[in-house]
């Protein structure tokens, strides 16, 4: 587990250095994810250590959003003032994005299958 965690942190660090060094608009961890993906492709798969550590981290991914979500206490005034546009915007946009993304993907997937 320690070896796998070290590996994840090293890749995050390298990603951070690349992102900042090259002034990319992409955050370090996402570059780290791409690097790990490349490493896995070269080595043809994760070690069982890395696989179980990743699974452990990702199983409770939701937990990691709790501290930032609690930050809503900093914005109670704005939320109280603008609750209607905020609520409608989030609700409408979330439903529309979920539905449209899924529908265009199904349309394209059918075309691929039927070879049109």
């Amino acid at each position: 587990m320690i070896a796998a965690l070290t590996q994840l942190l090293v890749l995050q660090l390298v990603g951070e250095v690349i992102a900042r060094g090259l002034n990319l608009p992409i955050p370090g961890p996402v570059i780290g994810m791409l690097l790990l993906f490349l490493a896995l492709a070269l080595r043809r798969g994760p070690t069982s250590d890395l696989q179980s550590t990743s699974q452990g981290l990702l199983q409770h991914l939701s937990l990691l959003f709790v501290p930032a979500g609690t930050g809503i206490v900093l914005h109670l005034h704005r939320v109280a003032d603008e609750w209607l546009p905020l609520l409608l915007s989030l609700l409408f946009s979330t439903v529309l994005t979920l539905a449209l993304t899924a529908l265009v993907m199904r349309l394209c997937a059918r075309r691929v299958v039927t070879g049109e």
Partner: protein, 239 residues
């Protein structure tokens, strides 16, 4: 309060131990409710845990910064967890390759619709400009979204809250919406959830299946890249 209890509270309220422990306790409680509710998307664990913590901070009159001094250790793990998403992605890559065209089309459509619809609806109902700009990257994973908000003139910490609200909404609504639209392919369900609802949607998608989770992780990563690149160009068109 007796002097000892007072001292104890002074110690606890300034030590990171309390914020960290409370975050884990709130999440454990939320997870317990989520399980008792048969893993229903409606009993979203992030929503329940955040609600409990917000109430607790209000009752004890604790500033967010004090809480975050402890909770930051959990927050920090978002970085290595994002890197770790490469593992399920690799394990599902055969399927991703077969779905390449739908994935790219879904990514472009989802990315633009997520940002444009949020800004336009907010403006239609009279949101301030700072709020509109803070909403624009709401479907992107928290660290990227905060960076984007800063660059386009939004409020990064407000964006973080809107991102998480979007994640919760997407995770709650996704299953019902896809069932209503008769979308059954776990790859498509996962990808659309990841585009819309980033990491919280991805966590939900992993509960549906490994494949849905891997596609959600892919969508989250790609949407982060695409939105960071496209949004500065898209915004002037929306004004």
């Amino acid at each position: 309060m007796t002097p000892q209890i007072n001292e104890l509270w002074v110690y606890l309220s300034t030590s990171p131990l309390l914020g960290l422990t409370l975050t884990l306790l709130a999440y454990q409680g939320a997870w317990w409710i989520h399980r008792r509710a048969g893993f229903s998307p409606l009993a979203n664990p992030v929503l329940l845990a955040v609600a409990a913590l917000v109430a607790l901070l209000a009752v004890t009159d604790t500033p967010y910064q004090t809480y975050f001094d402890g909770a930051q250790f959990v927050h920090f793990l978002l970085g290595p967890a994002t890197v770790a998403l490469a593992v399920p992605l690799y394990l599902q890559f055969q399927r991703v390759r077969a779905m390449l065209v739908p994935v790219i089309v879904g990514l472009l459509v989802g990315s633009v619709v997520a940002a444009a619809s949020a800004v336009l609806v907010a403006r239609l109902f009279g949101a301030s400009l700072a709020t509109q700009l803070s909403l624009a990257p709401k479907s992107v994973t928290t660290p990227i979204a905060m960076g984007i908000a800063e660059r386009i003139g939004g409020i990064p910490s407000l964006t973080a809250v809107l991102v998480i609200s979007t994640g919760i909404l997407g995770a709650v609504l996704g299953r019902y919406l896809f069932d209503a639209l008769r979308i059954s392919d776990p790859a498509i369900r996962g990808f659309a959830t990841g585009i819309t609802a980033h990491g919280i949607g991805t966590a939900r998608a992993f509960q549906e299946s490994e494949q849905a989770g891997a596609f959600a992780a892919l969508a989250m990563g790609m949407n982060g890249l695409v939105t960071a690149l496209l949004l500065p160009a898209l915004l002037p068109l929306l004004q």
